[in-house]
C-alpha cells in the first residue's frame, strides 16, 4: 500500500510522495497545454508593443502621453502603484505566513513569488520611463559624484527607489531560495541544456540533511527580513502622496491604507492567476478549494481595511472643514470622473461584502470574477487618487481633465503582456509549486530536529541515479 503523503491534510486526493512530485513537475517536463501557448503568444506580442511604446516615449518625449499641466502624473503612476500593490501577495505569503506558520502557503508561494517578481519589474519601469530625462535616472541613487551632489532624502521619491530595490532584491531571493531543491531535482531528471541550466542554478544542492538544515535557517531568516518589507514598501509608496499638499493626497491615513490595498490587490491578482492555472494544469488536488477559501478570507480582511479608509476619507474631508479637501471629495463624487469613483465604491465596498459568505467564497467561478473585479477596483482606486486629485486642486485656473493616449494604453497593456509572458516562461522552466512541501513550514520551523519528510526520499524521486 502506498505511503500517504505527509502533507495529506493540506492536499486533496490520494497522493504518494512520488506521484505528487511527478504531478508537480509536469508543467516543466511535459509539453505545455494549449492555453499556455495562447497566453505566452499574447504576452509576447504585448511585450513587443510595450517596447515600442517605450521607444516612442524616449524618442519623442513625454508629450506623447496624456499628461498635462495639473495632471502631471497619469497612467504611469497609476500603474506603478497598481503593480507594486499586486506584488504584495507574494511577499506576504513568503514572509508573514511563514512566520505565522500557515503551512497552507506551501501550495501557493512559488507562483505568488513569481508574480511578485514580475509585478515589481513592471512597476519599476514606470518611474523610470515617466522621468523627463530618464538617461539621468542614476542621479537618484546615492553615490559620490564629480558634481559633489547627493540625492535629496527629504523626497519620498528617493525613499521609493530604495523601497523598490529592496523589494525586488528580497522577492528575487525568496523565489530563488525556494527554487533550489526543485532545481536540484530537475537537474537530476533532465538532459541537455536544461540539465546545465538547473545544474548551475541549484548551487550544488544534494538534498543532504545538512543542506536542509541550512536551507530552513536561511528561509526563516529571509522571512524575518522580508516581513517589514511587506508593510513598508507600499507605505513608502503611499508617502509619495501623503507627503504632498494636494487635496485628496494629504492624509496621514495613507500608509496603512496603501498596505491594506496592496495585500488586497495582491491576493486578487493571485486568485486571478491561480484559478485558471490549477484548472489548466489539473492542480486542483494541490491548490484545493480550501486554499482558495483561505485566500478569500485574506482578501476580505484587507479589502475591509480599504473600504474603511474610503468611508473615513469622506468623513475627514468633511470634518477637517478644509474647503479644498471637501471640494475635492465632491469633485470625486459628482465631477466628470464620478463614474470611476462610484465603480470603485461598488466593487471595493459593496461587492467585497459577498466574501463574508462561504457560499460565495467557495464558489470558484464567483471568486474568479470577483478577483478580476477587485483588480479593476484597485486600478480605479489608484486612478481616483492620482488623476482625479491632481485634476482639481486649489485654484480654479489650474483645473484640467486628463485623457490617456494610445501610448499610455500600450504601456499598460504591454506591462500586462510582459507579466503574463514572464510568468508563462517561468512556469515552463521552474515548477509552479514546490515539491518539498513541508520542509519550510510548521513541522520544521523553529525546531532543530529533522522534519520527517525532509530526509531519505531523494534518490527515489530521480529518474536516473547520478550519484
Amino acid at each position: 500500500m502506498p505511503e500517504r503523503h505527509p502533507d495529506h491534510d493540506l492536499i486533496q486526493g490520494e497522493w504518494t510522495e512520488r506521484s505528487l512530485v511527478e504531478k508537480l513537475l509536469e508543467p516543466v517536463e511535459k509539453p505545455p497545454p494549449r492555453p499556455w501557448k495562447v497566453v505566452a503568444a499574447v504576452g509576447f506580442v504585448l511585450t513587443l508593443a510595450w517596447l515600442y511604446a517605450i521607444f516612442v516615449t524616449f524618442t519623442k518625449g513625454l508629450g506623447t502621453w496624456g499628461i498635462n499641466q495639473p495632471v502631471l502624473w497619469g497612467f504611469d503612476i497609476v500603474h506603478f502603484v497598481w503593480w507594486i500593490g499586486i506584488g504584495h501577495a507574494g511577499t506576504l505569503i513568503s514572509a508573514i505566513l511563514v512566520l505565522m506558520r500557515q503551512n497552507w502557503r506551501d501550495s501557493l508561494n512559488r507562483i505568488t513569488e513569481a508574480m511578485t517578481l514580475f509585478a515589481v519589474l513592471c512597476a519599476a519601469t514606470y518611474p523610470l520611463i515617466h522621468m523627463g530625462r530618464a538617461q539621468h535616472f542614476y542621479w537618484i541613487l546615492p553615490y559620490p559624484t564629480h558634481m559633489a551632489l547627493w540625492p535629496q532624502y527629504k523626497s519620498p521619491l528617493s525613499w521609493d527607489v530604495l523601497a523598490i530595490f529592496t523589494y525586488l532584491t528580497i522577492s528575487t531571493l525568496f523565489l530563488y531560495l525556494g527554487l533550489i531543491p526543485d532545481l536540484a531535482l530537475l537537474r537530476e531528471r533532465s538532459q541537455g541544456w536544461r540539465k546545465k541550466l538547473y545544474g548551475w542554478l541549484s548551487l550544488g544542492w544534494t538534498g543532504s540533511a545538512l543542506h536542509w538544515r541550512r536551507y530552513r535557517a536561511a528561509y526563516v531568516l529571509l522571512a524575518g527580513l522580508a516581513t517589514p518589507v511587506v508593510i513598508s514598501v507600499h507605505s513608502v509608496v503611499s508617502m509619495d502622496f501623503a507627503y504632498g499638499v494636494v487635496p485628496g493626497w494629504h492624509l496621514t491615513l495613507f500608509p496603512p491604507f496603501f498596505a491594506a490595498g496592496a495585500i488586497y490587490s495582491g491576493f486578487a491578482m493571485a486568485l486571478t492567476l491561480l484559478i485558471p492555472l490549477r484548472k489548466w494544469y489539473r492542480l486542483e488536488g494541490v491548490i484545493t478549494e480550501r486554499h482558495l477559501d483561505w485566500m478569500g478570507k485574506v482578501t476580505l480582511a484587507s479589502g475591509l481595511g480599504v473600504a474603511y479608509t474610503y468611508l473615513l476619507e469622506i468623513f475627514i474631508a468633511w470634518y477637517s472643514a478644509e474647503p479644498a479637501e471637501w471640494a475635492q471629495q465632491l469633485w470625486r463624487m459628482t465631477g466628470p470622473y464620478a463614474p470611476y469613483y462610484w465603480a470603485m465604491m461598488l466593487i471595493n465596498v459593496v461587492l467585497l461584502q459577498t466574501l463574508w459568505f462561504p457560499r460565495f467564497r467557495r464558489n470558484v467561478a464567483w471568486l474568479f470574477v470577483f478577483s478580476i473585479l477587485a483588480n479593476v477596483g484597485m486600478w480605479l482606486e489608484r486612478f481616483v487618487i492620482v488623476v482625479i486629485s491632481l485634476s482639481h486642486d486649489f485654484l480654479p485656473g489650474n483645473f484640467h481633465l486628463y485623457s490617456p493616449t494610445w501610448v499610455d494604453w500600450t504601456l499598460f497593456l504591454g506591462t500586462l503582456g510582459f507579466f503574463l509572458f514572464g510568468l508563462a516562461v517561468l512556469i515552463r522552466l521552474f515548477p509552479p509549486s514546490p515539491w518539498r512541501r513541508c520542509c519550510t513550514s510548521t513541522t520544521s520551523l523553529g525546531s532543530t530536529r529533522e522534519a520527517p519528510c525532509c530526509t531519505g526520499t531523494w534518490p527515489t524521486l530521480t529518474r536516473r541515479r547520478s550519484f
Binding site: 553615490y143 559620490p144 559624484t145 558634481m147 559633489a148 545544474g199 548551475w200 548551487l203 550544488g204
Partner: protein
Amino acid sequence: MRRRNRWLKTLFWGSVLGVFLALVLVFSGVAVGALEQREGRPVPQPVPFSHAFHAGGLGLSCRYCHSAVEYAPYAGLPPTETCMTCHLYVKPDSPNLALVRESWEKGELLRWNRVVNLPDFVYFHHAPHVAKGVGCAECHGRVDQMPVVYQPKAFTMKFCLDCHRNPAPRLRPREQVFNMAYVPDPELGRELLQLYHVRPPEELTSCNTCHR
C-alpha cells in the same frame, strides 16, 4: 567535495567579493569623475601662437589680449587688430602669421579654437572673480609656461565648489590677479575675504551662483 561544487563556491564568493569591491570603489570616491574627465590636451590653433613666449617671455599682461576679463562674463579673444598692433612691424612676413594677415586684409574674423568650453547651463562671470582677487592661474594654470594652451584642470562642478566652499586659500590681492607666479597665502586670504566682502560659503554655493 565534487568538482562542480568547488566551481560554484568560487563563482559564488567571487561574485560576492566582486560586488563588494565595486561598492567600495564607488563609495570611496576614488572613481569620482573618472568617466567625466574634461581636462584637456593642448588645443592646436590655426595660428601657432605661443603663450609661453608672449605672456611668459615678453611679459605681456593677460588683459592685453583678453581685455574683457575685468568687465564681462567672458575674458574675450583678441580681434586681429590686437595682433596687428605689433605684427604690422614685428615679423611682418612670417609664414606663421599668414592667416592673421589675411584676416587683417579681408576684414574677416580669425577663428580660434576654444580651449575651455563650459556647458551652456553654467554661467561663469570673470569680472567678479577678478574683482575679488581670484588669480587667472588659479583655474587656467601657468599659461605663461604653455607653448600651446591646454586646460590644466577638469572644470567639473566639484572643481568650482571646492573653491566656493572654502575661498580663503585661493584669494590673492587684486594687484596680483594677473601675476602668474604668485602663490596664494591662506593667512592673507582670510583677511582678503573680509576686505573684498566675499560672501559666505552658503551663499556662494547656492545653485543660482552658477545656474539659471
